[in-house]
C-alpha cells in the first residue's frame, strides 16, 4: 500500500523520508514539485498526482506536505485518512506539528511511523496504544533520559492491541477521576448580500477528556437525541445500543478523544419545512463601494448580535480578502484593532466581544490603484466568533452514568458554539 513517505516543507525541501518497502528514490518528488509550482496557492496542489511509475498522494497540514508514494491501486481516501492520522498523532505527541518539532523528535517520529505501518498497511493507529509503545516526549523525561540514558520506548508491552477494547490501555490509575465532555458546535453559513441566509448548517462534535481509573463503562444520554441523525462515532461507541435506545454507551479511551461528530442541517431542525434555517447568531451590515474612475472606495462594516439565546458573542474576528486593486486602507474601528496587509490584501479586524449596546463598527476609506478599473466583485467577509455555554442546535446532554467501577467520578459538560466557515457575501 503505502510505499514511502516524504515530508516536504513550504520551501520545497524534503526534510524527512521513510520507506516501508524497498527504497524509492527521492527524485520521485520532482513530479510533486512540478505540480507545486503550477499551483497558485499551496492548497491548490492536487492531492493525487500520477507519475510514470508511482502515484503521489499528499496532504497539506501546518504548511508541511506529507507525500505518500503509492505503487499500485489503493483507495486514495485510505491513504489520505492515514496521513491525517499521522499528523494528528504527531500533534498529540509534540503539541505542534511543525518542521522544527519533527526534526527535534526525529527518533520518536521514526519509531511512530515504524509502529503505525507494517509493510505499508496500517498497524497501530490508536493513540492509546501508540502511547503505550512509545512514550511521548516531555521535557522532564528528556532531561531524565539524557542523564540516565534510559529510554522513551515503553518497557511494558502493550495490551490494548490484543484485547477486546483495543482503544483503551490497561492499568489506568488516577487519583482524581474525572470525565469532561465538550459539546462544540460550529456553524457554517453563507449569507448573501441582502443579509438572507443562503445555506446554514451546524457541525458538532463531542470531545471528551476522560481520566478514569480502571475499565469504566459509560453511558451518555441526551435530552433531545432526535437532533443527532447524522453522526459518526469513535469506534468505542456501541452502535447497536445507539440504534435501539439513542444512548451512547462506551468504554472510553484514556485521555482526550473525539466521541462523536454530528451534522445538523436545516432539514433536521425543522423536518416539516426544509427551507427553514439554522439560527444565525450575528448579523453584518456592510457598505463597501468602489466608484468608477475614483481612486477611493468606501468601507463600512457594523456587527451585531442576533438570535444568541441571551449569551454574549465573544472572540469575534473579521477577515476579508480585498480585491487586488486596493492599495491601502484607512479605517477606524470603534473597538478592537485592525490590520491590512498591502501585499496579500488581507484585512483582518480583531473585534473581541460584541457589546449589544454599542455595536462595533469599522469605517473608512480604501485607496485604489490609480487608473485601475473598478473591481467587479465585492470582497467576501469571513467571521469567526464564539458563544460560550450554549450549543446552537439546542443539543443537551441529559446524564452521564458510569458502570463497572465503584468510585464517583467528577463529571463536567461544557457547551460552546463557534463560527465555522461563516461567510458573508457583499
Amino acid at each position: 500500500m503505502i510505499h514511502s513517505l516524504f515530508l516536504v516543507n513550504s520551501s520545497g525541501d524534503i526534510f524527512l523520508e521513510k520507506h516501508w518497502k524497498s527504497v524509492v528514490s527521492r527524485s520521485v518528488c520532482d513530479y510533486f514539485f512540478e505540480a507545486q509550482e503550477r499551483a497558485s496557492e499551496p492548497e491548490n496542489v492536487p492531492p493525487v498526482i500520477p507519475t510514470p511509475h508511482h502515484y503521489l498522494i499528499s496532504v497539506l497540514r501546518h504548511s508541511i506536505y506529507f507525500v505518500a508514494v503509492i505503487q499500485s491501486e489503493v483507495p486514495p481516501l485510505f491513504v489520505i485518512e492515514f496521513l491525517h492520522r499521522v499528523v494528528d498523532t504527531f500533534q498529540d505527541y509534540f503539541g505542534v506539528c511543525t518542521e522544527a518539532a519533527i526534526k527535534d523528535n526525529v527518533v520518536v517520529v521514526y519509531e511512530l511511523l515504524e509502529e503505525m505501518l507494517d509493510n505499508g498497511f496500517p498497524l497501530a493507529t490508536e493513540s492509546n496504544i501508540l502511547k503505550e509503545l512509545i512514550k511521548p516526549p516531555t521535557i522532564l523525561r528528556t532531561v531524565v533520559n539524557t542523564i540516565t540514558g534510559s529510554t522513551n520506548v515503553g518497557e511494558q508491552l502493550p495490551t490494548g492491541q490484543l484485547s477486546v477494547v483495543p482503544w483503551r490501555r490497561t492499568g489506568v490509575k488516577y487519583t482524581n477521576n474525572e470525565a469532561y465532555f465538550d459539546v462544540v458546535e460550529e456553524i457554517d453559513a453563507i449569507i448573501d448580500k441582502s443579509g438572507s441566509t443562503i445555506t446554514a448548517e451546524i457541525q458538532g462534535v463531542i470531545d471528551a477528556c476522560v481520566k478514569l481509573t480502571g475499565m469504566p463503562d459509560l453511558t451518555l444520554s441526551f435530552m433531545n437525541p432526535r437532533l443527532l441523525d447524522d453522526v459518526s462515532f469513535h469506534p468505542c461507541v456501541r452502535f447497536k445500543r445507539w440504534e435501539a435506545e439513542r444512548i451512547l454507551s462506551f468504554i472510553p479511551p484514556d485521555g482526550n478523544f473525539r466521541l462523536l461528530s454530528y451534522h445538523v442541517s436545516s432539514q433536521n431542525l425543522h423536518p416539516l419545512r426544509s427551507t427553514s434555517l439554522v439560527a444565525i447568531p450575528v448579523y453584518v451590515k456592510h457598505n463597501i463601494t468602489f466608484r468608477e474612475g475614483s481612486s477611493q472606495g468606501r468601507f463600512e462594516l457594523t456587527l451585531g448580535p442576533k438570535q444568541t439565546m441571551g449569551k454574549g458573542v465573544e472572540a469575534v474576528l473579521v477577515s476579508s480578502q480585498l480585491p487586488r486593486g486596493v492599495l491601502n486602507t484607512n479605517l477606524n474601528p470603534t473597538q478592537g484593532t485592525y490590520t491590512f496587509d498591502p501585499v496579500t490584501k488581507l484585512l483582518s479586524w480583531d473585534v473581541g466581544k460584541i457589546n449589544p449596546q454599542k455595536l462595533p463598527s469599522l469605517k473608512g476609506s480604501m485607496s485604489l490603484q490609480a487608473g485601475a478599473s473598478k473591481p467587479d466583485e465585492n470582497p467576501t467577509i469571513n467571521i469567526q466568533f464564539k458563544i460560550q455555554q450554549s450549543a446552537l442546535s439546542g443539543l443537551k446532554v441529559n446524564r452521564l452514568d458510569m458502570y463497572g467501577e465503584k468510585y464517583k467520578p467528577f463529571k463536567g459538560i461544557k457547551y460552546m458554539t463557534k463560527a465555522g466557515k461563516f461567510q458573508v457575501r457583499t
Binding site: 492531492p47 491501486e73 491525517h84 515504524e114 529510554t151 467587479d376 466583485e377
Partner: protein
Amino acid sequence: MNGHRGFSVLRSEAVGAVRTALVSAENLQLTLKTELSQEEQHLKPHTHTNGGPDETHTKGYCTEVNDDLKEMLESNKESLKLEAMKRIVGLIAKGKNASELFPAVVKNVASKNTELKKLVYVYLVRYAEEQQDLALLSISTFQRALKDPNQLIRASALRVLSSIRVLIIVPIMMLAIKEAASDMSPYVRKTSAHAIQKLYSLDPDQKEHLIEVIEKLLKDKSTLVAGSVVMAFEEVCPDRIDLIHKNYRKLCNLLVDVEEWGQVVIISMLTRYARTQFTSPWKEDSVFDEHSVRAFYESDEEKTRDETEAKAYVMDPDHRLLLRNTKPLLQSRNTAVVMSVAQLYWHLAPKNEVSIVTKSLVRLLRSHREVQYIVLQNIATMSIQRKGMFEPYMKSFYVRSTDATHIKSLKLEILTNLANEANISTILREFQTYVKSQDKQFAAGTIQAIGRCATNISEVTDTCLNGLVLLLSNRDETVVAESVVVIKKLLQTQPTQHSDIIKHMAKLFDNITVPMARASILWLMGEYCERVPKIAPDVLRKMAKSFTSEEDIVKLQTVNLAAKLYLTNSKQTKLLTQYILNLGKYDQNYDIRDRTRFIRQLIVPNDKSGALSKYAHRILLAPKPAPVIQSAYKDRDRYQLGTLSHTINTKASGYLELSDWPAVAPDQSVRNVEVIEPVKEWAPSLGKTGKSKPAKSSDDKFYSDSGEEEEEEEGSGSSSSDDSSSSSEESGSDAESSVEKNSSQSSEESDKSSSQSEKSSSESDTEKKKRKTKKPLQKKTVKPTAKDSDSDENRNVAKEARSSSAEESSSDSESDSDTDADSGTEHKKKTKSKAKPKVEVKSNEEVSLLNLDDFTPAPVTQLKSSVLSPSLLGDLEGLCLSNVSSTIQVSGPAFVPEKSHDLLHRMTGKGLSAQYQFPRQPCLYQPTMVSVQISLTNTSDHPLEQIHIGDRSPTGLNIHCFNTIECLEPEASVTVSMGIDFNDSTQAANFQLCTKEDHFSVSIQPAVGELFLPITMTELDFHKEQGKLLGMNESSATITMAAENMTSQPISRPVATVANLGVVPSGQDNVHRFAGKTASSGAVVLVTVELRELSTALITINTEKSVMGSMLLRDLKQALAQA
C-alpha cells in the same frame, strides 16, 4: 580517491579478491579489526561513496562522523550506543547514507534494551537489502525470538525478519510464516498475514505455498487477523475467489468489529466478490425508482419483499447480509470506511437503496481538503447517473470563497449535474455570484457550467444566453473569452433568432484579445454569415489587416470565414479572400499553408480543380450538429468508485476490474459452512464425558430421521434428495434454490417436532414462510464464527428484541440484532398481507402460531452445526487443544446446591406446577448448554396431555427441549432435563410450557455462577492462565469476612454455592483458587481468594468475559461477607 576507486572494482569481484584488497584498506587509516564483518564494513564506505552522487568533498566528513558513531556503538555503555543509534536514525531520516555502519549496528541486534533494539531493527530493515551477507548475521537472533513466549516479541521478530529483503532467507521466512500462521496469539497471526505480502513481493515463486497459508488464515475467526489476511489475499491471489466462499458469511459478520483499515480492504474485496456471485438487483427497477427515497431506518427487508412480489427477482440472502452488515459502518469516523461502504452500495445495492449513503457522503465534505476532493469526485460521478440522490443536499455544494480551486470546480460540476427545471433558478442565481469571483479560473468554469445548464434545460436557454451576452461586456478577458466560446456552442444549438447576439459579438470583436474567443466569433460569422450579411464582410476586412499578427487558431478561422463569405457573397469579398489566401500561402505555419491551399482549390474554380469544387458550398456550409456539452465525469464509473483509478481516470497498476453481474447466479451452496470448525485454541476444553453416547442416540430419536440430518450437513446441494420425506408436494412449488430447500426441509422437520402443525395455511403460504426462515437459518449456520460477542451487547439485543415486537423471530444474539428486529417486523407485515387476499381472517393467536412454525427450525439447525454430536466434538477439541495444557479438564461439580426454583406455580399453571434446578452437570445435548432439571407435577384432577415446550425468547435462544410428555396423570410428577444455551449471559430464558390446551409463559433466570463448568488444573496451569488474563480481564475487590470463615473449608463452600467452579489445589494456606469455564464460549474463569490480616480478603477474578467476571465478583462478595 584512487584507492577508493580501486576498491570498487575489487568489490565487484569474488569475495576472496575483496579480502586481499584489505591490505590497501590499511592505507586509508581505517582501523582493521579481526572479524570478517568488520573488514567488509571498511570496504563498504568506499564502494558506496564512490557510486553515490554524494561525492568526494563530503566524504571525508562522513567517514569522520561515521567513525565517531562506530566508536560509540562499540563502547560498552548502553547510553552511548543508544545515542549513536539515534543519530544514525536521524541520518536515515534525512536520506543520508549510513550503510557503512552496518556491521557495528548489527552486533546490537540482540541487545536487551528495547529502544536500542527497535532502532537497530529500523536500521536493519533499511539497509539489509544492500548488505545481504552481513544481514544474515542477524537472522539467528530473530529465529530465536520467534520462539519467545511473549507474543509481542514473536510478532516483532517476524515483522523484522520478513522485512529483510534478502532472497537467501526466503525458506526461513516461509517456515516462520507457516509457523506464525498457526500461532496461538491472533496478533502474531496478523503479523504473519503481513509477512505473506512481503515474502510474495520478494519472491513471487512462493505463491502456491503462500496461498495455502492465506487459505488457512482466512479461516481464522479473530477480528485482528481478518483485515490483514484479506489484504494479503488481494495482493497475492485476488483471482482465487473460491477461497472466499466458505469465509464469506464469517467476514460479513465480523466486519463491524474489524479495525477500520481492515474494514476498507474487506469491503472492497467483498464488493468484487459479490459482483461475481450474485445476480443483478437492478433489473427493471425503474418501477421503483421514484418512490425510492426511503427513510434511513426503514426496514430493508420490506423492500426486498416488495420486489419479490412484484417480479421474480429474489435477492440472495448472502447479498442482503453484506448490505445489512456494512450499513452501520456509514457511521464510522474513518472517511475511507464510509467511502468504501458508499461504493459498495453503489455497485451492489438495488437502485432504490443506494440513497442511504448520501447523507454520510455529504458529511464527509466537512473533513480535510484532500478528503473533500476525493469525495466530491465520487459524488460527481454518482450525481450524473442519479440526480435524485444528492438533490436535497444541493446547498452543501455551494462554493465558498475560501475553497481551493479544484474543490470549487468539483462543486461546480456537481451543481451542474444536479440542475433540473425545478432548481435551475436557484442554481443560476448562485452561479451569478461565482461569475464575479476574483478567482478568474473559477469564473471561467462557472460560465462553462452555465452553458451546460442552458443546453440541458431548454427552458432556461434564453435566460442563460442573455446572461452570457451581458458578460461579454465584462472587464475581465478570460470571462469574456469563455463567454464567447460558450455562446458559440449555445447558438449552434438554436441559431434561428439570434442574429443580434452575433452582431453584438462582432462589435466586441475589437476588444477581445483571447485567441480562442476571437476564433469563435470568426467561426460564428462564417457559419451564420447569411444572417449578418453586412457585418461579416467588414469583419473579414479587419482581419485581413491584422492577419499576420494573429494567432494560428485565429488565422485558420479567418481563412474559413473568407472561404464561406466567398461562397455566399463573392461580389463583396472576392478580393479580400484572395488577399487572405495569399497571406496564408506564405504563412510560417504549415497547417495554415495547407488549409489555404486546400481552400483555394476548393472554392476558386479553375481548370485543375476537379469535381470537388462543385460541392464546395455543401462542404463548407453543411449544417453542423450542435456540440454536446457533457461532463468530464460521465462514464467515470467504469472504474470502481473510491479507487485510485477512478480519481485519476486511468487504470492504475494493480486495479482489479469489477466484473459484470453474472446472468445466472453461481451455486449458492458453496458458502454454506457444513462442518463445525475446531474453534480457537482456547475454546471450550470440553471434557470427554462418558455420557455423550446416549446423548447422541437421544438426539437421533428426537429428530426421528437422522439420515436427513446427514444430508443437510453435506451442504444440501442437490434439490431432489431432500424431498425424501413428506414434503414432496411443497417442494414441487419451490424450485427456487437449494438453500431454500434446505430450509424447507428444516421447517418441515420442525412441523413434525412441534405438534402444532398448521393446517389452514396454504401451500404458497408455507413457501413464503420458508423463504424467510431461510434467513435466520443461515445465520445460524455461520453462528459459531461470530462468537466473540460482547455480553453487553447481548443485553441490548435482548431488550431490543423484546421491545421491537412481541413475536419471536429467531434472533440469535450479538451483532445481528437489527436484523432480527427487522425480520421480526417484516414477518408480521407479511403475515398480514398474506392474510388479506385469502379472506380468511386470522386471529392473533394464529399469527403467533405461524411464528412458531416459522422459527422452530432454530434448534434443528443448531443441531446441524454440531451434528458431530458431543462425543465426537469432544474428541476433536481434545485434538486441537494439544497446545493447551492437558491438565485442564472439566471435572464434576464440587457441590450441587439443592435449591430449586419455581418455574410455574400450580395456580397459574392450572394444575401444572414446575420447578427447576441446576444439576451442574455438563449438558448432554450440547457442550455449550447449561443443563436444567425440571420437575413437573400434575396437581389437578385430570391428566395433562402433551406437555412440551413452545415459543421462546429471545428468539435466538437455543434450547434443547425435553421430549413431549404424552400424558401426566393427576398427582404424578416427572423430572425431565433440558439444555439451554444462555450464551454466557444471565439474561432470562423465556419460553412457553404448553399442554394440550394451554400454554404458560415461564422463564428461567440463571445466576451467573450456574453458567460455568468446573475445571481442574494444576496450580502452575492456573498461574499460566492467569498470566494471560491480566489487565482489563481482571477484576478484584477487597471484603471483610467473619473470622470463623478464615479456613479453607468454609471458603470453598460459599464459593461453590455461588458458582459452579472447581477447586484448584493451592500451595499457600491463605490463598484459595477456583477455576471454571463458561459453558457457552468456554472462556476460562479463574477466581482467587486471598485471605489477609484483619479478616479481610481479596477476591480476584480473571476472565475475558469481563461482564460475567464483575457479576460473579458481586455474587461472591455477597456470599463471603454473609458467610
